[in-house]
């Protein structure tokens, strides 16, 4: 039946080769320096783990057990001092400009010791990705340089992303659900800005962040068509912290409720709104999904990396236990069943890692920051002294023309095909790697018996921490549906998703 078909036609058949082997395309296009950057970043993360995370992880968790309102300011300052909060801010916005491909391997490293500390570092880049996704270079430049200044001064200036609402968790991440969602966060246009009312929940790093990048809706009856995004400082009038959640795990990373009560947001702090969206190529609803996808395409593989991290951490604790324990009078490490189990756990961590590394290739090709992997720009930015960029870019980023150019390049010119592939793979990594993560944690606790349930042996903490990974950044159920929508449904055009 394939007679007469050209090779390219054959490769276009589902599953399209471009959909299933993204790394094949990526490797040749990837600047050679990326590999060295990943090595350096991972080495630094391992040094951080040995120096800070491992010695403190259990103590922090215990502290939060005792006092759920405890805020780990000292640890935030320590992460800030190590430079992790500015490492992946592009140089044009004043950061160190490390290649984005090195971020999620670092997240794995952190989470292989403590997913709470990993999130305390990593979720900064969730907030940042919400900020970036509207491609407002002026405000992005302003806030990123605040973060850089926070590192210089030793007073951390963190960014939180505010999306989830009490009545809208899954709904807030998919426009096909959003248009029926019970969202309540209203942004009402007034002279000179907006007045915002509503509540956001489960905001990671909420209580420790200075800048809060939030979604809201200009018309609550049409949320998918009226989503807007703004930035607000924690000291703004009408911005209030509500409760800090009492979580089962990842206790080191606060999850906050944020309440807006007639909170005035000046026009200059609006990242993107209906008026600006209407000037873009896509419809408002499509743009809302594009913005959501820009964010989750970066952050979902990050959660996948957290899955790989906990899978690896649980494996390491199980291995240590096997090496130091005799069961039935024989070293556990020499018992065949234990060797088989440890091999399976090793494989689970490796498989989780493979999913996010493939995503790294996908986002490098098709994500919102693809140009950072474009070789001419990559080497140009490498060669350009920061002092020069810091003199030029704050001015350039304020120009309307710069913003328009970025929005044209990144938003209007993005191919639907590329967006679909990137979003689908992000979901794949998110649910597959986190399912593998919790699986390994379950295995470790079971394998270690009495030691497995003890806090001082760490496996139980990995298990508690791992469960959240199946929930945030879209539940694993939503991510399965998104994978179906992006990677399976094209082969079944009659399929309707979210319309059961």
């Amino acid at each position: 039946m394939f007679e007469g078909m050209t090779s390219s036609t054959l490769l276009e058949k589902h599953p399209r080769l471009e959909d299933v082997m993204c790394s094949l395309d990526s490797v040749g296009k990837m600047p050679r320096g990326v590999s060295a950057e990943i090595r350096q970043a991972v080495a630094l993360a391992r040094r951080f783990n040995e120096t800070v995370a491992r010695p403190y992880a259990l103590e922090l968790d215990r502290e939060m057990h005792e006092d759920p309102a405890f805020i780990p300011w000292d640890l935030v300052k320590e992460i800030n001092r190590w430079g992790f909060y500015t490492a992946w801010i592009p140089k044009i916005f004043g950061g160190k400009g490390w290649n984005l491909g090195s971020l999620i391997p670092v997240v794995e490293e952190f989470c292989s010791e403590c997913a709470g500390i990993g999130n305390l570092m990593g979720v900064e880049y969730f907030g940042m990705s919400v900020l970036f996704a509207g491609w407002n270079t002026r405000i992005t430049d302003k806030i990123c340089r605040d973060v850089v200044e926070g590192e210089r001064s030793g007073e951390p200036c963190l960014i939180a992303g505010l999306v989830t609402e009490p009545g809208a968790g899954t709904d807030a991440e998919e426009t096909e659900l959003l248009h029926k969602a019970q969202v309540r966060c209203l942004a009402r246009k007034v002279d000179g800005g907006y007045v915002v009312n509503g509540t956001k929940v489960f905001i990671s790093n909420g209580h420790v962040s200075t800048w809060h990048i939030s979604t809201a809706f200009e018309d609550l009856s049409r949320p998918a068509e009226s989503m807007m995004c703004f930035a607000v400082r924690r000291d703004a009038k009408g911005f209030n912290f509500g409760r800090m959640e009492k979580k089962m795990g990842q206790k080191g990373c606060p999850a906050s409720e944020i309440i807006f009560e007639d909170c005035f947001v000046p026009d200059e702090d609006v990242i993107i709104n209906g008026e600006q969206i209407r000037k873009l190529r896509h419809s408002p609803k499509e743009t809302a999904q594009q913005v959501i996808d820009f964010v989750v395409t970066l952050t979902r593989p990050g959660v996948g990396a957290m899955g790989a991290g906990v899978a690896r951490g649980a494996f390491q604790e199980a291995l240590a236990f096997a090496r130091e324990t005799e069961v039935g009078g024989k070293p556990l490490i020499n018992q065949e069943w234990a060797q088989c189990l440890l091999a399976e756990m090793y494989a689970n961590a490796a498989l989780a890692r493979l999913t996010y590394m493939e995503c790294n290739h996908v986002t490098g090709l098709y994500g919102m920051a693809w140009m950072l992997n474009w070789k001419p720009l990559y080497y140009y930015m490498k060669a350009m002294p920061p002092s020069v960029l810091d003199r030029v870019m704050p001015f350039a980023n304020r120009l309307q023309a710069t913003q328009q150019a970025f929005r044209k390049l990144i938003m209007d010119w993005q191919k639907d095909e590329d967006a679909r592939r990137a979003s689908g793979w992000a979901s794949l990594s998110k649910f597959a790697a986190t399912d593998l993560g919790i699986k390994n944690c379950h295995l470790a606790v079971e394998f270690m018996g009495e030691a497995g349930i003890r806090h001082d042996h760490r496996a139980e903490k990995f298990l508690r921490d791992s469960k959240l990974l199946q929930i945030y950044e879209g539940t694993n159920q939503l991510n399965r549906l998104n994978l179906f929508k992006c990677l399976v449904a094209p082969a079944a055009p009659e399929a309707q998703v979210f319309e059961e």
């Binding site: 969602a181 089962m248 005799e326 379950h442 606790v445």
Partner: protein, 378 residues
Amino acid sequence: MRTTISEELKMLAGMARDFAAKELVDEREEHDRFPFAPLFEDVLGKAVEVGFFAVMLPEEAGGSAEPVTALCVVLDEVCQADASLGATIFTNALAQEVIGQAGGTDKVVMIACEDGSFRQGLIAFPSYNDPGEVDHCARAARARGGYELSGGVEYVVLGGLVKRALLPAKVEGTEGYSWFLVDLDADGIDASEPVLSLGMHACPAVDLSLSAVPGALVGEEGRGGEYFEAAVDRLSAAAAAMAAGVMKGSFAEALEYSRQREQGGRLIVDWSGLRVMLADMALKAKVADMLVEKAAFAADRGELGWQLASRAAALMVGEMATVATTDGIQALGGYGYMKDYGQEKRFRDAKQIQSLMGITHMRRLQFMQRVMDGEAAW
């Protein structure tokens, strides 16, 4: 089990359900804060009064002499609300059973104190370890016509709360290990702070360090493993009942939430993907219920192969509960992960129940060994 048990056991189940509803549900989160909040000693006192700690104990020892099915019924109901009390009941029952197997029932006199104290009557026990596998045994030396225990025993459940513990120790010069009753108020005992654990915070454990502490031998020297294995045979059904109870609690909470929470403009229970997840939970709970009932009845009637039936129930129901309670959180999304609902606690408790009486893989290997040795498997 509610539909098939006798009228007498139905009354017991109803009493346990009412007790759980009245004493456990409302304060579950606060009770779970131990050791960073006070222990629910008043609840333990009331549990003593209603006889939860003497269900299977012979009448001459102050117990109700009920069959293991009765213990399963109580644990099922209690663990639907809060497995911490269930684990306390279980640990004490396991210690009593080991002593019973050693023919030392006279050493277990359940004292229902008028002041509601549980300290005198309950027995601390390392209920998450099989001392024949992971060698957390003290050393016993013959001295002054008795024995003195030295060394360490890890994770002794209730060790910081009650007066007596049943501890494993190896007598110098003999094979195997033996069980000793030890007065925890005696000189030479050093108990750690409560060990922070995955689940069942209100059923705490301590690590004990002993230095020449007098111990009363239970049964015969070197036969500790034999007594323990026989006790595990009988009490495995009870461990399965705990896991089944936790699973039922998790399902009930998930179903209730799913009938109230909307996403995408409809109740989440009406999305078929979630409904399949709920169905899987319900199926596991149903199968668990049948397994517990079968195993407990078989044990009580002494049916051929009841020992392995009991162990099979503990292993399989224990595993099912860890999966079901993981989904029990998932059904509630972010809310399931927070302390506000009972789901995160059930997830932790179910996982901890799985480790009762030793590492599951070793229990599986033991099961297989007994099958190969010719014991009736079904």
